[in-house]
Amino acid sequence: MIENIHFIAVALLIALGIYTLIFKRNLIKIAMGISILASGINLFLISLGYRAQGIAPIFTNAAIAASEVQAKMVLPAPQALTLTSIVISLAVTALMLSFAIIIYQKTGSLDATKSRRLKG
């Protein structure tokens, strides 16, 4: 049970992100919560493809012979998809923080329950 500690860390990160989304009202704290949630999901994607006693999927100066390449290399496909996911979560965080700045400049408060008007 303790050998699944990576998945337990993923569950704790996602739970922390959801807690911030439900119980906090400050806009900056909500943006931070969404960023923590995205980090938890990226960690989950990478730790799905790990092979025990494995090496990185790179052939430059690899420390194994050419015949056991198949059995010892870590799966490369989840790593490639996590790259895309990290860049997209960066774009989402930047856009959310810009919205927080604009809302503060127009209405004067950072409370999520106080800015409910549709016309500025």
């Binding site: 790179i58 052939f59 430059t60 100066n61 420390a63 050419a66 990290i86 930047a94 923080l97």
Partner: protein
Amino acid sequence: MNGSSVIVKVVSLAIILPALTFGLYIIAHGHLTPGGGFQGGAIIASALAIFLVAFAKQASKTLRKNLLSALECLALLGFIGLSFLGLGKSFFFNFLANSGLIFGQAVPFGPNPGFINTAGVIPLMNFFVGLEVSCALTIIVLTMLKAGGDKK
């Protein structure tokens, strides 16, 4: 926007120059070692952000938003143009690998010390994507700094 004191300027100069070189190294060897376009672009953008905070007056004259925006658009157009050049077989075809042109050497199977002349169209795509990501992140930092207002 005021700059910082002399101590901060000197010490940050000792960080910015090695960081720029390290970012260019990671972009250039993206087909041999872990790294590539996105990671190297993020490192260069971090170095430029430190430059913007420590040297405020000189940085606002050098890093203008129009120049960075034009560079970003040119890099994205270059990336898309490279993907159209292999349209003989399919979209995004690696037409330079295993041929005799630039970056066209063949690689034997198995672990080997890396050869720079390989991997076809991948190093060129790494360069364009690295330029685009670094310019995009620097534009984000510039815009948010200017919109916060000038506080003395």
